[in-house]
Amino acid sequence: MNPFYFGDPERPLYGVYHPPRGTDAGRAVLLCYPIGAEYMRSHRAFRQLTSSLTRKGMHVLRFDYLGTGDSAGNGLDASLDEWLHDITLAIEELKDSAGVESVAVVGLRVGGTLALSATAARADVSHVVLWDPVTDVGEFLEGAIDSRPDDVQDWGLPAGTVGLGGFPLTPDLRIALSALQLADMRPDSGKRVDLIVSTDAPDVARLQAAWSTGQADVRYRCVPSEGDWSKGDRFGSALIPQAIIGGVVEALVDGN
């Protein structure tokens, strides 16, 4: 495991690179976190997924978007364009660290929506796994906003900033994210896309039919698992849904 900073030195991104354990399978996987409280809940699940993937001989990079986790900036610096750019930077960093020409990308919840948005047309991303993806980010945000303080300006926050599971969501970021819909995206030909959900999700299943009219290899699978990413508690509990983590690993191994 190698924690490091990368990207623009003025606002570096935090990443943790995990080399393969044992035989190098010559494959690399980028993990894209969800946002808000779901980021907090998923950290251990990502470590668990990372451990499983490196045992399969894969290189793994997980990283924090600008203004989240250990990366530079705060929630006020975050923007959709920056986050999509962060994913492209992380892909280049992973290719360089792993010595590979193409990578797979796993995105959990909104992380999946961001991942496909950033990589749908990239030829060097051969495989995208969308794990419990958020199909309509605007709808998700409406349900996830937990506070609407009326005195944010007294504390240096832009007017209209709301709390997203304890993280600031500025009006600009909210508008940009709300426009993200998976149905509007179209993975390019030759790409494999796995839609893996922990409870049956008709809106996600419909994507398979829509995207399969193109050249992409799109698969939908429900792996019943415990827990709900959107339902945390106030004590910072983690969610480690082992069954679906196994499903994600199987998809990546199968996508070899």
Partner: protein, 294 residues
């Protein structure tokens, strides 16, 4: 162990100030609940204080221990190792330990063991009921059925550092978190420990939130504890805040309070003010050197 060292910009360090060691709250990794620890570390750096946010073994980015040391013991050992590390890297000779909930508990236990600790900043620390607490909790509500339900809840202590219920089934044999069941020690035990720390000249900072149901008013902590804190104690009570400071305004309030406390207790030397920049670097112990390109 993995941690993030946040340092003031070159030339802006307060050479005689303590460094701040920030301890995990339960299984929340080193960014802290709702990224609170990141904000605190960066605000402290702007004031000239170095800090290290690190993960205890088995938490966050740190690997599990290979021995069977109970968490209560390993956490103290690791916190002291982290202080050794900071002393080597930053030259710090004294330390402030800061933590929320179980992090507050481990800060206390470490302070008892290590005389380099000169300041203790605890968020939702061990706190004990007073007669006035009972009056405030039960007095106005004796005839209210709903209040009886709440009274029962008052007796339930939050558990942290544990993956809950069905989620625990998912904990893998390859990545297991340390378990810590938070049970308040007898008040007399904590009083004895706090007296020892106070006698050493320790500076104390406490913030309590509305989720800590053993406290109902700001002065309760000092009323409950038979300890001569003198003027070396500051207590904040934020009844409107939850335990993990989910509220954006509450986060900013606690960051402001902690930096102001450090600033006031360890004031800058006249020539040492700074302009507010900082740098962060990931650091590991017992592993390969950080791969840093920036």
């Amino acid at each position: 162990m993995v941690g993030i060292l946040t340092q003031p910009a070159a030339g802006e360090v307060r050479p005689d100030a303590p460094a701040v060691l920030i301890l995990n709250s339960g299984i929340i990794h080193h960014i802290g609940a709702n990224r609170l620890y990141v904000e605190i570390a960066r605000a402290l750096a702007e004031r000239g204080f170095s800090s290290l946010r690190f993960d205890f073994s088995g938490v966050g980015d740190s690997e599990p221990r290979r021995d069977a040391l109970p968490f209560e013991e390993s956490a103290v050992v690791e916190a002291r190792e982290a202080m050794d590390y900071m002393a080597d890297v930053t030259g710090a000779r004294t330390f402030v330990l800061l933590g929320l909930c179980s992090g507050a508990d481990m800060a206390y236990y470490t302070a008892l063991e290590d005389e380099r600790v000169v300041g203790l900043a605890q968020l939702d620390a061990f706190v004990y009921r007073t007669r006035r607490w009972y009056v405030k909790c039960y007095g106005p509500k004796l005839l209210d059925l709903g209040a009886w339900v709440n009274a029962v809840r008052c007796r339930v202590q939050p558990l942290l550092g544990k993956v809950t219920g069905a989620e625990e089934d998912g904990v893998s044999e390859v990545f297991v978190a340390p378990e810590y069941r938070r049970v308040f020690p007898p008040k007399e035990t904590i009083e004895t420990g706090m007296r020892r720390l106070a006698d050493r000249g320790m500076e104390f900072f406490f913030t309590f939130t509305g989720d800590e149901q053993n406290i109902l008013y700001r002065d309760q902590y000092e009323e409950a504890m038979d300890v001569e804190f003198g003027d070396r104690i500051e207590v904040r009570y934020m009844p409107e805040s939850d335990h993990t400071f989910t509220g954006l305004v509450h986060q900013r309030s606690v960051v402001r309070d902690i930096t102001a406390w450090c600033d006031g207790r360890w004031p800058a030397q006249p020539a040492g003010r700074n302009s507010g920049s900082f740098s962060s670097n990931p650091h590991m112990k017992g592993g390969s050197a950080p791969h840093a390109r920036t």
